[in-house]
Amino acid sequence: MNPCDEYVVKTLRYLDNDLKGQELEDFRSHMESCAHCRAHLEAENALSETLHRFRPLYSAPDALRDRVSATVVQQSSRNTTRGSLYDRVSRILSVSGALERLLSWRILVPVALAIGLCVALVPNIVHHVQAASYVETAVAMHRKFISGDLPSGLQSNSPQAVTTWFAGKVPFDFRLPVESSAGSNPAYKMTGATLVSYKGSPAALVTYEAPKDKVSLLVVSSQSALVAGGDEVTGGRMTFHYRTESDFRVVTWTSDGLSYALVSSASGPPQASCLVCHQNMADRRDFKAEQ
């Protein structure tokens, strides 16, 4: 390897004022003694000046600005319509109420009972089937994770980088459940993210590792994955569903339109997976792993 190779990238960092301290001193020292690298530095600087002289390279055409403005207006009015839609539905319902008074209670009571039974039972069955499917998918993805068979994605321990990476890749607004990177020595470290498939649509899988355990988090839209079943535990405004599935511990919950399924090894402590989110929070002692 040419000893000057390492200065190729350092030259760019130097031009960006990114070199500091000893690194900067070493760079200057090398430039003093190496005519080749000095010439390279000058050429890079000249290139930067040439490129910057013609900034911006493009400007958006007026027609595009008009199109985007129209999109903004359209989208804003759609948001506004949500409120008025509620009013319209309310008005329709009030008309229905007037019709009801015209009908006999002898007809209405049996019909209402039948509808009530359907509402109470059928959705519940569907709900649990969908929930089971979601949990099974989360466990299947976790198996792939621990066996190293996941598709390659992003390797990062940065929640910001992971959130940015999923933008536009998944058909929902991806959010991590909590910011979990604040601790200086977290028990569970985020290792990366990858795209997986759930019901034929892209879904987000975030992975974490501890010295003796691996945890994965499957995130999908709550419209496609309902959460139910298992042992229910209410915390704050959310309900968590705990269960053991195929030797794995699974915690599911929904929040702000997203469904989360956190999968960890069942041989680990019962609340271990909770530490992924709570390790840096004030209540972490409640989830302290059993020794």
Binding site: V8, V9, L12, R13, Y14, L15, N17, R28, M31, E32, R38, A39, L41, E42, A43, E44, N45, A46, L47, S48, E49, T50, L51, H52, R53, F54, R55, P56, L57, Y58, S59, A60, P61, A63, L64, R65, R67, V68, S69, T71, V72, Q75, N79, G153, L154, Q155, Q160, A161, T164, W165, A167, G168, K169, D173, F174, R175
Partner: protein, 201 residues
């Protein structure tokens, strides 16, 4: 053109208009087709508008919208929906911006126009992975970290790819600024003799 719902603090400050030139430039270097670039930008704005409620950090807004645009473009490529690459090499500089404050000297104006077109052509002739990293770093001023997030690759890859892209571009533009380099080299060598290689050139 300020986007965002009233109850979203990041959205209240998130002015998409400030990114339109940059998004259009990025879309142009990816697609090399103005019609497709416009569609990409519009779709990006629509998705950003829908997803901005989840945008917690205003500082990350720029790289976020660029990531959205790139993902839309990649999805279109995968689905075969992207138009075939047709480089619009019009001689009147339509692809590149005309300077807002054109020089008064007609000859200087002409030289600037020619150089601008040559820079634009040289960039457009690079492979797409080099084109996009040049535009993100040199024209949009994204940090290496932000570029890594947009491209979904490690920081080291960003730096080495940028170095290779610049090398290719420098070769292509050699004729344009060889005179500048000679001039600057003389100046820098003089500085070196005075031992003043302390600040970035």
């Amino acid at each position: 053109m300020r986007l965002g719902s009233d109850n979203n603090k990041a959205g209240q400050r998130f002015d998409l208009n400030q990114y339109l030139d940059g998004l259009y430039g990025y879309a142009m270097v990816l697609s090399r087709n103005s019609a497709e670039a416009e569609d990409l930008v519009q779709e990006t704005c629509l998705r950003a508008l829908r997803g901005m409620d989840g945008l917690r950090d205003e500082d990350g807004a720029k790289s976020w919208v660029f990531t959205i645009l790139r993902n839309i473009w990649l999805n279109q490529l995968r689905q075969g929906r992207a138009a075939p690459e047709m480089v619009e090499l019009d001689s009147d500089g339509k692809g590149a911006n005309e300077p807002a404050d054109a020089a008064q000297d007609p000859h200087a104006d002409y030289v600037t126009k020619i150089e601008r077109e040559q820079v634009w052509l040289a960039i457009q002739k690079l492979p797409v992975e080099y084109r996009e990293i040049i535009i993100l770093r040199e024209y949009e001023d994204l940090s290496y970290q932000e570029i890594a997030a947009v491209l979904g690759c490690p920081l080291g890859t960003v730096m080495s790819r940028l170095a290779r892209a610049r090398s290719r571009l420098r070769d292509a533009l050699q004729n344009i600024f060889s005179a500048e380099v000679s001039f600057q080299r003389a100046g820098k060598l003089r500085s070196k003799e005075e031992g003043t290689l302390n600040e970035p050139l």
